[in-house]
């Protein structure tokens, strides 16, 4: 996401994520951007870092965590841009035990984006396996939860909202 200043780039990055997340929770998106250490990774999380209890039967919880960096770039994506440095989208059962999680973290192996199938899913032999995936957008996870896990959205225009915020994300991403 581009901006004229690092701060603006961060705002441009956070706003659509907040909008996307607002489809399932009114919890705040929290970040820790410090302009004095902008080259270092920053954190984005939801609900004060706690799992979000979703409106569903059975009950599910969702943890959203991302890391991002603010980088200087040239061209229409600049002069400042936020680039995602990792994510953890974890879906848990009513006891907050992990069912599955999409991970991407360059700082520990494996560094490719992957899916974990958690113990709570009942498929124990996959617990330590990192199933490769493409890069996953938060919108993909939210849509999955609403469409297939029957999580109740808290806004009626959720489909339009997710389409819009994902389009913004795809316009500015630097990977295919």
């Amino acid at each position: 996401m581009a901006g004229k200043t690092p701060k603006q780039a961060v705002e441009t990055f956070l706003a659509p994520i907040r909008q996307a997340v607002s489809c399932i929770t009114s919890s705040f998106v929290i970040s820790g951007f410090d302009p004095n250490r902008r080259s270092k990774p920053h954190v984005l999380t939801v609900n004060n870092g706690d799992p979000v209890k979703l409106t569903s039967t059975p009950t599910f919880y969702l943890t959203v965590q991302m890391q991002y960096r603010v980088v200087e770039v040239t061209g229409e994506r600049g002069p400042w841009k936020v680039t995602t440095a990792g994510y953890n989208y974890s879906v848990q059962d009513r006891l907050e035990k992990e069912l599955f999680a999409y991970h991407w973290h360059r700082w520990i192996k494996p560094s490719y984006p992957h899916l974990h199938v958690g113990q709570a899913s009942g498929v124990n032999f996959l617990r330590k396996i990192h199933l490769p995936t493409g890069r996953i957008a938060i919108e993909d996870v939210l849509e999955l939860l609403i469409e297939q896990f029957k999580v109740k959205p808290i806004r009626q225009d959720w489909k339009k909202t997710l389409r819009k915020t994902k389009a913004a994300y795809e316009t500015f991403r630097t990977w295919a």
Binding site: K7, V10, E11, L14, A15, R18, Q19, S22, F28, V29, I30, S31, G32, F33, D34, K40, P41, H42, V43, T45, N48, G49, T63, Q65, M66, Q67, G86, N88, S90, E98, A101, H103, H105, I108, H116, G118, K128, H130
Partner: protein, 64 residues
């Protein structure tokens, strides 16, 4: 960017970030945030890809 912004996002101060890391480290791993940072840097955390470790490790930038 303001705290409690109408945009629905909130930017934490350094102190607030450290507190959040500390709270989650205690919740998921039973140790303080400072201990987690030290152990992580020393590679003393076993199976770092565990869900409970990952949830704290993602907050490491709050640890300075």
């Amino acid at each position: 960017m303001k705290r409690n912004s109408k945009n629905g996002f909130r930017v934490l101060s350094k102190d607030e970030g450290e507190k959040l890391l500390d709270r989650q480290a205690r919740r998921y791993l039973g140790m303080s945030g400072k201990t987690f940072v030290r152990k992580w840097k020393a590679k003393e955390i076993t199976n770092p890809d565990r869900p409970e470790v990952m949830r704290v490790a993602f907050l490491l930038p709050f640890g300075g």
